[in-house]
Symmetry: C2
Subunit: 191 residues, 2 copies
Amino acid sequence: MAPSSTSAGSPRRPRADAERNRTRVLDAAREVFRARGDEAQMPEVARAAGVGIGTVYRHFPSRAALIAAVGEQRQAEIVEFGRTRCLPSATAADGLAAYLEHIGEVLDAERGLSASIEAAFGSTEPTGEGRARAEDIAGQLLVRAKEEGAVREDAEVGDVVMIVCGLAAVIRYGAGDWRRYVRNACAGLRP
Amino acid sequence: MAPSSTSAGSPRRPRADAERNRTRVLDAAREVFRARGDEAQMPEVARAAGVGIGTVYRHFPSRAALIAAVGEQRQAEIVEFGRTRCLPSATAADGLAAYLEHIGEVLDAERGLSASIEAAFGSTEPTGEGRARAEDIAGQLLVRAKEEGAVREDAEVGDVVMIVCGLAAVIRYGAGDWRRYVRNACAGLRP
DNA sequence: AGCGGAACTGGAATCCGATTCCGTTTAACC
DNA sequence: GGTTAAACGGAATCGGATTCCAGTTCCGCT
């Protein structure tokens, strides 16, 4: 493919240090939020990344945006898992269950991010770049599962989205055994 | 003899104006949070209640505590509904569905409180005064529903709690049609 | 039918953390 | 090497929750 370029021509290559710092900040944020959850503060992230606060804000216009960016990374990983592990499952129902389970796993491992991912999967988010792909996987599994007769005909992707949104909350608030939640939710889609 | 208590008894009746102000603040908070959601600020509440900020803080040690207090009122109302409308249902399964539906209704009507109620139903909350009663109702319905064979034998109150927690999130983030969510969740408990 | 003082009140002051601003530094292009 | 736009750092600003306290009000007693 043609090298990346904007439509209007390339005024200048992005500075190397800028790109490096962006990555550093993102990595640091991931780590800090994992460790301290919602408590984590912007200066902490900056310090962990070894940059000034200003730099953090240069790359991410707000705390929320930073969290969202980290969340999107996660989403990407989830999508990847879904494509490689769940779509090829023997039965689509199993694949869907594994998909949900994996999402739970990720959220559980990074409690601090739950809120963000919750939000990302909720409808608040404007873009939905990665979300669309995540939903696409769920959609494919759902279609196949219907063909297999393992899922009610009237089930929709939206139902899965709501399950995920709920899952995030269950994990975030530690409302109970989230694996049970996933199992029940799957059962709720059966004919 | 004079009934004056010596040690642990009631040192004094709470001052009338204090109680009045507490109520005013609580009512104002309910209204302000309903109208403006999470955005609502403490000074707004104080103004709406016609008291100073200090007074708000005298009665509720923090913003979170105030929100929690409002949430508990809601919880009480939900419990009341559960007792009078759901427990007497023809079938326990219907009662349970109605209970969940009602919770959804309340949360939907007051988007701004969703977060608090979510939290109150999650395990974050220490007390669980009203929550215990809310769970008790769910528990009774669950037992009866099992007897009726409308719910799986291994279903627990915890499962319902998770459903409610998820429901709150679905509504809060507008993740989809929450009535469908409730229907699916109920289906997930069937044998 | 008034007094003493604890409890309550209002709002100014404080604190804390996100966000902005701007002089300085650096990498890309010539 | 020189020019310049972009990126950097961190001090300053801003917004909103929370604390503090001097003044006021009710309660219990006489």
